[in-house]
Symmetry: C2
Subunit: 505 residues, 2 copies
Amino acid sequence: MARRKSQRRQKQAFQQLPWRQPRIPFPPLKMLSDDQVEHIVEASLRVLEEIGIDFLCPVARETLRQHGADVDASGERVKLDRALIMEAIAKAPSKFTLHARNPAHSLTIGDNWTCVGAVSSPPNCSDLKGGRRVGNWQDYTDFIRMSQALNVVHFVGGYPVEPVDLPPESRHLECVQAMLTLTDKPYGAYALGAERISDAIEMGAIARGRTREQLKSECSFMTVINTSSPLRVDLPMLQGLREAALGGQAVIITPFTLAGAMSPVTLAGALVQQNAEALATIAYQQIIAPGAPVVYGGFTSNVDMKSGAPAFGTPEYAKAVLAGGQLARHLDLPYRSSNVNASNAADSQATYESMMSIWAVLMGHANVIKHGAGWQEGGLCASFEKMVMDAEMLQGMWEFLTPLVVDDAEMALDAIADVGPGGHFFGTQHTIDRFETAFYAPLLSDWRNFESWEEAGAVTAEWRAHAIYKQLLAEFEPPATDPAVAEALDAYVARRKEEIHGRAA
Amino acid sequence: MARRKSQRRQKQAFQQLPWRQPRIPFPPLKMLSDDQVEHIVEASLRVLEEIGIDFLCPVARETLRQHGADVDASGERVKLDRALIMEAIAKAPSKFTLHARNPAHSLTIGDNWTCVGAVSSPPNCSDLKGGRRVGNWQDYTDFIRMSQALNVVHFVGGYPVEPVDLPPESRHLECVQAMLTLTDKPYGAYALGAERISDAIEMGAIARGRTREQLKSECSFMTVINTSSPLRVDLPMLQGLREAALGGQAVIITPFTLAGAMSPVTLAGALVQQNAEALATIAYQQIIAPGAPVVYGGFTSNVDMKSGAPAFGTPEYAKAVLAGGQLARHLDLPYRSSNVNASNAADSQATYESMMSIWAVLMGHANVIKHGAGWQEGGLCASFEKMVMDAEMLQGMWEFLTPLVVDDAEMALDAIADVGPGGHFFGTQHTIDRFETAFYAPLLSDWRNFESWEEAGAVTAEWRAHAIYKQLLAEFEPPATDPAVAEALDAYVARRKEEIHGRAA
C-alpha cells in the first residue's frame, strides 16, 4: 500500500546538515569500574604470557623472537611477556590525522573526536524495489556515491558491498580507484596480503599528489586487521599489517570475539580475549613500525541463543562497546567501534538495534565508527534505505552533541515578559529572528500531522528512505579530480591489472 | 507482501524478562554545566518574581496570598518570591513509594530508580490490520490488558486511549475500575477537577483494602498536572492538584513548554519557563500539603519548522531531557520524562525517535517514564504494535543497565586455555553451563539468518509486533481480585454513575 502510494509523494529538496567532524562533549560512560579494567587487563596479559597466540607468519614470528618473545620453534605459538607488550604499545600515538584527498575532509583520530565510515564488506545488498542480491559493480559504485553525498559519512572503510562481477585478484584496483575519484574523503583498503595494501598506498599517493615516501608521514587510509579468534592471526592479515605499518598507514586491530562462539560465552571472558588479541597484534605493529598510527578495535558481541547466529545491537553489545572504550583508553589509544544491527530488513528492528549501537558507541567515545551507514543483517547485506536511516540517526546525534548555549539572549527573559501568561510565542520577534535555524531539520523524519501525512500518501520511513536514496543518486555529481591525476590512476590500474592477470594466467 | 506471508509464521511461545524495577547504575549525563544550571534557576526565579504566573483558581490565589505571595487583587496574576518558593519546595520528599494493589508491583519513585508507564491520553489508536480509529472501550481495555501483560510496564499513567463511547462525565469511573481489576499495578487518574481525583482515591482505597484516610500516607497513584504554558495554571488542574495533594496522592507537575509555540524558541528559554512553571506549582502543592509526594516533570520539545507540528524524539528533546533532570535534582525531587516520537506509523522512524528518547531519559535519570509503551504520532495515537516495540526496547535497556560481573569464572581463563588458539567455544563446558541464560533473549527481534527468516515468511518487525500483541491479548488472564472487592467497586461505580447522570440530567 505504502509502495504504491509513494509515487504520489511530492518531491522535496534533499537537505542535510553540513559536513563536520563532531566531538563528544560528555565524559565517557563507564561499564567497568577501574578495578574491573585492571582485572581484565591483568587476565589478558596472563593469556599472552601463559597460553600465547598463534601468528601464522614466519616473518612476524622471527621479528617477535628477535625482540624477546618466546616463540615455539616447531609451531606458530608466540608467548609475549607484559614488559615487551607494554613497551611496544607505549610508542603508539594517542592521536593522528587521517588525510583526505580534499583537505577539508581530513579527520582527527583520537581525543574526543569521532568519525563515521560507510558500511563495508557485505557480500549482498538490497533496496526495497530491487530486493536482496549479490553485490555488483553498479551497486558498489552507487554506495560509494552515497558515501560521498551523505555528509555524515566521513570515510569509506572498505567495499560497501563486494562487486563480485569483477575478478577477485584485481578487484581492489577498481574499487580503490572508485573511492579516490567518486569521493574526496579518506578511503579504505583490505589487508589481504601485502599487495593490495601496496597498491592502495601507490594509488593514494597519486590521488593526493604525493610520493609513496611522503605518505609514510601522512596517513591517508585505515585498514582493518581482524584476528582469527580465538588467539590467532592469519598470514594475509599479518602481511597486510606489515605493509601498512611500514607505509605509515593506520591499522585498526579488531579481534572478532563473538561471545559463545569464538570467545567465552561470558562478556568478561570475551573482553579478556579481545584485549589479549589486540595487545599482541598492536605490539607487533609497534615493534616493526614504532609510532605508526593504530586504532584499538572492539567488535565483541554475542550469538543468538536460539539459532547460533551472530546478534548485534544487543544489550551485551552495548556493554562491550563501553568496556572496549575503557580498555582502549587504558592504553591511551584511539578506539574503533561500529553501528550494527542484526535485522534482515530495513525495518523498526534495524533502527532500534542501530540506535542501541550508536548511543553506546558515542557514549563510549569511539573515535572511529565503522559500518556507520548502510549495515544490515549482521553485516551480510548493505541496504540503500538503511544508509539513509543511518544518516538521519547520526546527524541527529551530531546535533545532540552540540553544547547548549545559556546566555541572556537564549534564556529569553524579555520574550517571556513580552508574551506573558497565556500568550503565544509564534509571532514574537525573538522567535521570528531564530525560527528558521532554531531546530534540527530532519532528512527522513516526517513530522507533519497524520492527516497531512495520509493525504501525501501515508509513506512510511522505509519508503521515504527509498525515495531519498534514489534522489541522491540521481542528483550525484562527483567531486573534482585533476584530469592528470585521473589519467595517472587509469594508467596505474591498467598496468597492475595486466601484471596480475598476466601472472594469474 | 509481508502481511500476506505473516500468516504462515510459526507460532512461538511469548517470552519476556521477569517484572522488575530497574536502577540506573551510571551517573546522570549532564547537558548543562553547574553554572548553566544556576543561570537557568536564577532566571526562572526572576520570572516568578517579576512577571508572575496566572493561577486560575480563587482558592489557590487566596492560599498563596496568605502565605506571602503578591497576588493581583483584580486578576489572576501571582508573583512569588524565591524565599517563599524554596522554603515550600524544601518540604517535598526526594523519594516516595507508589503502592500497587499487588505489593510486589509497588514502586520506589526517586534515587536512581526508574519506572515506566503505559502511553496515556491519545484520542486515537491503531493496529496494522484495524487501521487508525478513534478510541473505544474495547481498545481501552485491550491496552490495559497489554499494560498488565507486559513486564516492562510498571504503572498505568492515564487512559492509554480515550474510550469515547463512554459518557465523558462518568467515563473515569469505568476507566479506573478497569485499571484496578485488569491490572495489579499502580494506576492513574486525571486531575480534571477535584471529583475525578476524589473518585480515584475512593476506588483505590476499595481495591487496596484501605480507608481513604489510610491512603493519605500510602500514595497509590500519580496524576499529571500540566500547566497551560506560558505561565498559566488552569482551574480544573488546580482543583485536581489540591484534591490529590490533600489525599496524599502524587502529582507530576509537567509544564508543556513546546519551544517556539508555548515557550521561547530557544531551548534555554524553554527551560527557564519550564522551571518557573514547575517551581510555582510545586510550591503551591507543598504549601497546601507539606511533604506530599511530587515529581518534577519535563516535557520540553520543539515544533517542526516546516509544519508547526510538535516534534518528539528530536535532538532538542534529548537535550531538554538531560537538562530537565539536572533541574529536578537541583531541587532534590524525583524527575519525570517520557518515551516519545512523532511518527505517524509504527515504523523505523517511530523506533529511532523512541530510542533517542529512551537513551536520553535513562542517561538523564528519569525516575518516572511516562508514555513508555505505545505512544505514537506525538501522542495523538496509541499503537498496539508500537507497544510491543517499546517493550522490546525497554527490556533490552533493563538488561543493559545490569552491571557486568568480572570475576575468575566470568573471565574464563581456564576455558580460554582449554579451547586454545584456533579452537571453538560452542562445545566447552564453560559455554554449556551458561548458554541458555548467558544472553538477553529478545521478544521481538528476529536474529535468524536471512534464509531462515525468508523461509518463515520474511515477516518484518512491524508484523511480528502485530502477531505478538494479538497473542498477548488471546492469552491474557486478569490478576486475581477478591470477589468482595470487585463487588464493592461495582457498587461504587454504579452509585456514582447514578449521581453524575442524575445530576447531569
